[in-house]
Symmetry: C2
Subunit: 131 residues, 2 copies
C-alpha cells in the first residue's frame, strides 16, 4: 500500500504520516526500488492506534509512552490506566475552564444592546479602550 492509500484509509494527511515517521511515532516502511514507501497491515494498525490516541487528545509524548508500555504484553496495565486517568483529569479541568468561559461570554454578549462603541458594555468589561 502506498502512502496515499494509507492516508485515505486512516483519514490522515500524507504530510502528517511522513511527519509521524520522522519523529519516530510510526515505523519506517520498506521502500520500492524508486523510493516509494510500501506499507503493510502492521503500519495500518499502528497508525490507527496513533490516530485514535490523537483523537482522544493524547499528546505525542503520551502516545510514545503508550507504545512503549504496549511493547511488553506481560507488564501490568496499571500504568496505562494511570496515563488515561491523568489525561481524563486534564480534560475535566479544560472542561471546567471552558464552562466558565461560556458563562462569561454569554453574560458579556447579553449585557450589550448593540448601539455605539462608546457605550459598548463588552469593551467596558474587557478593560478599557485599547489600540
Amino acid at each position: 500500500m502506498q502512502i496515499g492509500q494509507l492516508a485515505t484509509r486512516t483519514e490522515t494527511k500524507v504530510e502528517t504520516i511522513r511527519y509521524y515517521e520522522r519523529i519516530g511515532l510510526l515505523a519506517a516502511p520498506p521502500r520500492s526500488p524508486s523510493g516509494y514507501r510500501q506499507y503493510g497491515q502492521d503500519h495500518l494498525r499502528q497508525l490507527m492506534f496513533v490516530r485514535h490516541c490523537r483523537d482522544l487528545g493524547f499528546s505525542i509524548g503520551e502516545i510514545r509512552s503508550l507504545q512503549a508500555l504496549a511493547h511488553d504484553p506481560r507488564q501490568s496495565c496499571a500504568e496505562i490506566t494511570a496515563l488515561a486517568e491523568a489525561h481524563l483529569s486534564e480534560v475535566r479541568s479544560k472542561l471546567a475552564g471552558l464552562r466558565r468561559l461560556e458563562r462569561t461570554l454569554g453574560r458579556l454578549i447579553t449585557s450589550c444592546d448593540g448601539r455605539r462603541v462608546a457605550d459598548c458594555q463588552i469593551l467596558k468589561e474587557l478593560g478599557s479602550i485599547g489600540g
Copy 2:
C-alpha cells in the same frame, strides 16, 4: 513604571509583554536614557484589555479586530457583539468535543481491570499494539 512592575500588575511575563510590543498588540512605550521601557497608565489599561481578551480565549487576530473597532467610538458595536458571538459558538463546539472525549475516556478507563498489558481493554480499544 518599568516592564517588571507592569508584568507583576497584569500577571503577564516580561517576555510576553515584549512579544506583544513586537507584534504590535501593545503600543511601544517611551524609553529611559539607558533604553528601559517606561510605561504609563494607558499601557497598563491596554495590556489589561489584551489579557482579559486572552483569558476569554480570543485569538491575537481577534484582539486586533477588537482594538480596531474600539478605536472609533462612534461606530456601532454590532461588529463587536458579532465577534464575541462567533467566539462563543467556537467555545461551545469545543465544549461539545471535550464532553464526548470525557465520556469516551471514562468508558475506556472503567473497561480495564488493571491486569496484564496483553489483555488491556484500553489498548485494544485504541486500535492495536503499536510500537
